[in-house]
């Protein structure tokens, strides 16, 4: 009997980092060595696929035998022979290496639209994309839709910009279409500067054609002939796969002159950014392509009127573009109905921090934070208590447990003091100090400030200094009020979104966790026992067995005591490194 065997190996950045390429060639070698194709009349193929979002389990390998799928996790090269021998040759999956239930619940509770191809098709093969309906939407848009019809469909879909601000994409395109100009540009924003975010990277690496197809449709809708994909140079795999995809499109005449046999010309090139967070801001990004310093400019004109080189420009995020082919093919109302009244469709989030399952998740807009954290994320790691979730990247706010049931969309997140941003989510548990968390995020934004405007350049630095002294136990009366005043001022007076949102982590933690600030300032105490200068380590005399383990490891020689009698820490010598805390087997050292 003929068997069809497909081996899919994750070669996203996460997969490659865990050795995906090597695992892939190990499988290929095994196939060649057994000559399986010739002897068993079987068709056995390997495929590189993109990221499926569960990177903590990489390298993930799917083995499909006549469509029946088994997924292995943490696959290493030395595991390949056994999987090959027992599973592929003999037909018995290696049960101890396959993924567990959490892998399936993680995926089942999601709704994949943008990510539907990631992890399924080979991103380096245009035919794989075409086989799943790729470029049909573009063909339809180019050959049988008018620009107005496309704009209409996008408007009806209720798609809003996935780059953070949530501007209705249809409206943006409509403006782009209305402005008259010989030269217009389409730009895809693939800068993705938020630390820890990798949704756009996963799409560019795992399904690059969907982004290109979205841009082709946008070009037709707005009448533009030239496009740029702005990708940071730190994403070499994304750059490589996008370039490969563009080259293949040229061969197929999906890009270039007279595309799809029409009389419409559209061409694309990649622009590699040097990797500044602020270059993700639309105006800074365009200055960067122009060869200038990536510095935001005041929005006297909309980009659709005067953008790149002062020409009308439509700029959208990677995920925004990747949604477009689906909207054109499956219909605007299908997409619209996936989301809420105010925002259609799904959104990809990267969920990290203290949850059991970290990775990329795609859910319809309007689901609750609770659903994302508990149903998909599997709850808090180590079954500790949830404290807050920080959404929207480094300039988002921290949302406490009381708001876990809000429906996630642009407005509701703003209402509770946070933002959608690019979709980063960091889960914090009881062991996180909120003052320290706010400081951590502000450190990033203040360093990435382009320095152009006063509130952001100096104001965020001063906020950071105040937070610094609070966490060092040097906080003063009035610091909380000063932080609030500065935060509100920076939010209102900054030129671009970076400054306007930078105070969010501070303002939101002041709103929900003010008592933690007060404890630091008034009582010189860090409730979560995180801030080094505010912790004291003491030995509980009744528990201490006098084993001396702590004394042996203390780098400062701060522990006194003879064997079998309770030991003591000399506070004047203690450097608060916490080594003794970890070394004590009897848990007799207190941290507070």
């Amino acid at each position: 009997m003929d068997k069809e065997i497909v081996i899919k190996v994750c070669t996203g950045t996460g997969g490659v980092a865990s050795g995906g390429e090597k695992v892939l060639s190990a499988f290929q070698d095994a196939i060649a060595a057994t000559g399986i194709e010739a002897t068993f009349y079987e068709k056995c193929t390997t495929k590189k696929v993109g990221c499926r979002g569960f990177c903590s389990k990489d390298v993930l390998v799917d083995i499909l035998i006549n469509g029946e799928k088994t997924t292995y996790k943490h696959v290493k090269v030395d595991m390949v022979p056994r999987i090959f021998d027992e599973h592929i040759v003999k037909g018995n999956p290696v049960a101890e290496w396959t993924v567990e239930d959490d892998y399936y619940t993680f995926h089942e509770k999601q709704q994949k639209v943008v990510l539907s191809h990631c992890g399924e098709i080979d991103p380096e093969d245009i035919d794989a994309y075409i086989a799943v309906g790729g470029y049909e939407a573009a063909r339809k848009a180019i050959l049988s839709m008018s620009p107005e019809e496309i704009v209409d469909a996008v408007k009806k879909s209720n798609l809003r910009g996935r780059g953070g601000a949530g501007f209705p994409t249809g409206l943006k395109w409509e403006l782009g279409l209305r402005i008259r100009s010989d030269i217009k540009f389409v730009i895809c924003n693939g800068d993705e500067g938020d630390p820890g975010a990798f949704m756009d990277r996963s799409v560019m690496e795992g399904d690059p054609h969907s982004v290109i197809e979205g841009m082709i449709i946008c070009a037709k809708a707005t009448g533009s002939r030239r496009g740029y994909i702005y990708v940071r140079a730190e994403y070499p795999l994304a750059v490589k796969r996008l370039q490969l995809a563009i080259d293949m499109c040229h061969k197929q005449k999906f890009l270039g002159k007279k595309i799809f046999g029409s009389d419409f010309d559209f061409d694309l090139s990649i622009f590699q950014g040097a990797g500044a967070f602020v270059c993700g801001e639309a105006t800074a990004l365009m200055r960067s392509i122009e060869g200038k310093r990536g510095m935001p400019s005041p929005k006297m004109w909309r980009s659709a009127e005067k953008g790149l080189w002062d020409k009308p420009t439509v700029l959208n995020n990677v995920e925004t573009f990747a949604n477009i082919p689906r909207i054109i093919l499956k219909g605007a109302s299908w997409y619209r109905n996936l989301g809420t009244e105010r925002s259609g469709g799904t959104k990809v989030f990267s969920i990290t921090g203290k949850v059991k399952n970290t990775g990329l998740v795609e859910v319809p807009l309007g689901v609750s934070l609770r659903h994302i954290i508990y149903d998909i994320g599997g709850g808090i790691e180590g079954d500790k208590t949830f404290k807050a979730i920080q959404t929207g990247g480094p300039s988002g706010g921290c949302i406490p447990a009381e708001h876990l049931d809000i429906e996630v969309d642009y407005e509701s997140l703003a209402q509770v003091g946070s933002i959608m941003g690019s979709g980063g989510m960091v889960v914090l548990d009881e062991t996180s100090c909120m003052v320290n968390t706010a400081k951590f995020f502000l450190e990033f934004t203040q360093e990435e400030s382009c320095g152009k405007c006063t509130p952001c350049r100096i104001g965020t630095k001063r906020m950071l200094e105040i937070l610094g002294r609070i966490t060092r136990g040097k906080g003063r009366d009035g610091d909380i009020e000063l932080l609030e005043e500065l935060g509100r001022y920076i939010r209102a007076a900054s030129l671009c979104g970076l400054g306007m949102t930078a105070p969010n982590p501070v303002l939101s933690t002041l709103r929900y966790f003010r008592h933690e600030y007060e404890a630091h300032i008034k009582e010189k105490r860090c409730p979560a026992a995180v801030c080094r200068d505010l912790i004291t380590y003491t030995i509980h005399e009744e528990i201490c067995k006098g084993c001396g383990a702590c004394k042996k490891v203390c780098p400062a020689d701060a522990i006194r005591g003879t064997r079998k009698t309770p030991h003591k820490i000399d506070q004047s010598l203690c450097v608060k490194c916490g080594t003794c805390f970890d070394a004590c087997k009897f848990k007799s050292i207190m941290k507070a």
Binding site: S297, M300, Q446, C450, G451, K452, C453, R462, A493
Partner: protein, 372 residues
Amino acid sequence: MVTFKIDGQKVTVRKLSTILDAARKLDIPIPTLCHHPALSPFGGCRLCIVEIKGSPKPVTSCTTFARDGMEVKTSSPQLENMRKMTLELLLSDHPTDCMVCERAGDCKLQELAYFYGIKENRFIGERRTYDKKDGNPFIARDMEKCILCGQCVRICDEIQGVGAIDFAYRGLKTKICPPFDKDLNCEFCGQCVAICPTGALTGKMWKQKGRQNFTKIDTICPYCGCGCNITLHVRRNEVMRVSSKPETLNEGWLCPKGRFGYQFISSPDRLTKPLIRTISKEYSASDTWNIPPYPPLAKGGRRGGSDIFREVSWDEAFDYIAERLRDIREKSGPDAIAGLASARCTNEENYLFQKFMRAVIGTNNIDHCARY
């Protein structure tokens, strides 16, 4: 045309005018530090914020177009508080150096700090520190005083077309400097010095020559045919600085010679007595092309008494010139004579010289670097 209201006053301005343009027209003061009417809008300092009725956040008036029916307020307790905050922040990253600063008294930052009465600062913290090394003889840069208004960057790029400096680094460490933070190596036109609102950029030769109380004398730059308007800042018959007014033919822009090339006026090297060239025997008339190099200047800069020049009285000099010119003119005609004058003479002297050549000698063979 667009008609709207600022602080209750109706104003009509041309389309694409900013709120700031309109306020200036009505003479309503709005503090600014980064705006310049001749440069592209920037929106960096955030001092020029105003409130627009119906808008949730203040906007910067220098980068917001006026729209029909707008109602703008240029001052309110909230706005003034925010402006004060901006100034406080700027000053928290600024040396309090006014007493020895070249720009004190003429500094926009100092002026605003004075108007807003900023004496104490709630935001004392880290400050940028740079070592000040500049190889060039014209421009002194003290970037600790820079408020990042970007006017120098824009004037260098947009007016001068040079682009020698730009923003570099990020966050608090942001700095205006040449590429790779190298030493300044440009045309040294000093446009940036002229436009800088603070003491960050100053003329090297201004140092400790006085800040105010100059006699200002408007004149025309003699260096070239453009004829830029310049203003000499004079004290005790010595030119201390040169500037140019924006409402002039050259819109206030100058080149390095016009701006910095004035020391010759009071140079001790200047000739004060006429000299007649004498050629020593060994270099006879047949060998005029081989005149040896000028001997080095004697201490004090006098050339008199060398074997090439002989110091003479004015009478002797004039007699000599008249005799030689008459001789040549009679023998070979007026066109055998040509005159070259110097841009470092006054405009009046140069006028007289060409008049003399044309009317007295009778030739048009006359030139000078400002062209006749």
